[in-house]
Amino acid sequence: MVRLFGIAIGAVFCVVLLFAALSPREATEVDPTLAFHEHPKKVHWSWDGPIGLGVFGGYDRVQLQRGFQVYKEVCSACHSLNRIAFRNLGEIGFSEAEVKAIAKNWTHEVPTINPDTGEAATRTAIPSDKIPLVYANEIAARAANNNALPPDLSLITKARPDGSNYVYSLLSGFADVPANFPADRRPEAPLHYNPYFHSLAIAMAPPLSAGQVTYAEGQPEATVDQMSQDVAAFLTWAAEPKLEARKRAGVGVIAFLLILTTLAYLSYRRVWAGIKH
């Protein structure tokens, strides 16, 4: 009985699926801009480790500090980094005094209330504050940016596929619109052509130009490529600040488990010695 019911139900599903599979498809137009998309360029990051597998290798503190400089002097004009507190900057090598100074001199103040009147007010930031928002709210952000919303960058490298390479490629990948690009799809001002952006037309103007940031003496030259890599590294840290602790723990855990599993295997063989199975 179950079998007859089963065969009947199976036949019904198969007929419906066959009907669907054989019905003609609507002609779909292939997006003519599809061929212009590019995959992010691959960078050998410090956290990829010496053999590139990502088992060893942490952050390059000096690079992160350069990246922070780029963020502070360029990106922070529009993009917030609200999941990072100033105190976290100690983790990338800034001293306590430096962190205090960075917080105190930050371009935006922290919203608070006037303790006497209760009215909205602002105060200078202290290390325990999160890096303040650039705009009070989304409407203010859009109003200041041709209705585009500059995303918060705290998680940007985890919120995009191949995020670190993506941020680097996007920042260093602005280009002129290719000559053979479909005329009716050309990005119009205020949009800019970028083959790494999901729509190829990004509201952000090319933010970096050579020498825009003055790196400290002994640091590499501030080319667009160098600055893009540095800020992508910094934002990778911002999105995954525990990467080094995670990998260190991972090496220890797996080493422990390998020993445990070897011992478990040996005792398994000992227990089963002489037993046919």
């Binding site: 089963g6 669907a20 995670r246 991972g250 478990a264 398994y268 037993i275």
Partner: protein, 428 residues
């Protein structure tokens, strides 16, 4: 329970004797997962995945309970509280990555466990209820996994919840009311997040309860084995402890190593980048995809593209649920009197066709609903239903199995041999 030659619990220590005569808990453990449970001696490594499923459930419950101490089940703070766990809670990153990857690994081991049951006919009499309770666990896991994915309140959480709950609106007459009931409102919002959190905390304990029923029911006939033949005498079995506890410890070690590779070195590999974007009800992601373990069923859902008497959406929903619910009837759809595919040359080939078909469905489910993926998933879905509902009932009836060995001991040893070191041993 179990076989007459099973070891008997004989507490030696006066305290254990005292305890056993008042609360025979040690006896229960001894008979369930100790030396008192005789197991077919020929079971292979595929039998490790039952214990591994239990281990995966335990890891989920332990990490989940601690995560719940730091999580805020409110749309205003849910995403932020997850980031707080990642950044500010001691070892919060470890808890969250272990829990998120733990869900994927739970499904990996459970799927392998199910495939083992399919290959060796473990669902067949007398283990129908063991199998059916397993299907109940699978359904509960799917509900738990789906609701858990909503909790971080990222873009995929929100839109996945919107898409999946919307499926119920395909049900005639009461569909919309059911959706409103599920969501606690007219759209995915705070009420949805709250009830999903509540149920996500509850269901794992329901799963644990069903696991106990499943083990209980398993211990009546005892475990199946690769030969698929019944245990006939003491020479066929070995006590669970120490033989299979030792083997399971080794298996657990291998499992934990693979699991650790993902938790510590590829923690976001199985996730979706969009879920690191806070949920935004006015911005729909380009492609809404569920977690990978739903992909085969998602492909079946989307394979129904044409209205055929009923609306296409209703066909898709019916087929998706039917794809899992048909497993309840598997013990009766299969008419063969031989369990193991080892002795069924045609069924063995069909099993591998099914595995390939599920792989194709899984790939299609992760792709956008475009050609050629839709047509491929339509053909693959057709095979899925045909395999279980048409081919299996017919082939199992007409296939001539190879000759079976007379006993497990004979299959293992070539000829009968005196009983191994299996005589009653006094317990500690």
């Amino acid at each position: 329970m179990s076989f007459p030659w099973a070891n008997h619990y004989q507490p030696k220590h006066p305290f254990m004797q005292w305890l056993d005569s008042r609360l025979p808990l040690p006896r229960l453990v001894y008979n369930s997962v100790g030396a008192g449970y005789p197991v077919p001696r020929n079971i292979n490594y595929w039998w490790n995945f039952g214990v591994l499923s239990g281990l995966a459930l335990l890891i989920q419950i332990v990490t989940g309970i601690v995560l719940a101490m730091h999580f805020g089940a409110n749309t205003l703070v849910a995403f932020d509280s997850v980031e707080h766990i990642m950044r500010d809670v001691n070892y919060g990153w470890l808890l969250r990555y272990a829990h998120a990857n733990g869900a994927s690994f739970f499904f990996i081991v459970v799927y392998i466990h199910i495939f083992r049951g399919l290959y060796y006919g473990s669902y067949k009499a007398p283990r129908e209820l063991v199998w059916m309770l397993g299907v109940v666990i699978l359904l509960l896991m799917m509900a738990t996994g789906f609701m858990g994915y909503v909790l971080p309140w990222g873009q995929m959480s929100f839109w996945g919840a919107t898409v999946i709950t919307n499926l119920f609106s395909a049900i005639p007459v009461v569909g919309d009311s059911i959706v409103t009931l599920l969501l606690g409102g007219f759209a995915v919002d705070n009420a949805t997040l709250n009830r999903f959190f509540s149920l996500h905390y509850l269901l794992p304990f329901v799963i644990a309860g069903v696991v106990i029923l499943k083990i209980w029911s398993l211990h009546i006939p005892g475990s199946n084995n690769p030969a698929g033949i019944d245990v006939k005498g003491p020479a066929d079995t070995l006590p669970f402890h120490p033989y299979f506890t030792a083997k399971d410890l080794f298996g657990a070690g291998v499992y934990l190593i693979v699991f650790s590779v993902f938790v510590f070195f590829l923690p976001n590999y199985l996730g979706h980048p969009d879920n690191y974007i806070p949920a935004n009800p006015i911005s729909t992601p380009a492609h809404i995809v569920p977690e990978w373990y739903f992909w085969p069923f998602y492909a079946i859902l989307r394979a129904f593209t044409v209205d055929f008497i009923l609306p296409a959406k209703l066909w898709g929903v019916l087929a998706m649920f039917a794809a899992i619910l048909l497993l309840f009837f598997l013990p009766w759809l299969d008419g063969s009197n031989v369990k193991s595919n080892r002795f069924k040359p045609v069924s063995k080939q069909l099993f591998w066709v099914l595995m390939f078909d599920l792989l194709i469905l899984g790939i299609c489910g992760g792709k956008p609903a475009e050609e050629p993926w839709v047509r491929i998933s339509q053909i693959a879905s057709m095979y899925y239903f045909a395999h279980f509902l048409i081919i299996l009932p017919i082939v199992s009836r007409i296939e001539r199995p190879l000759p079976l060995p007379n006993s497990i001991a004979e299959a293992v040893l070539g000829k009968s041999e005196p009983a191994p070191a299996n005589a009653a041993q006094p317990a500690e």
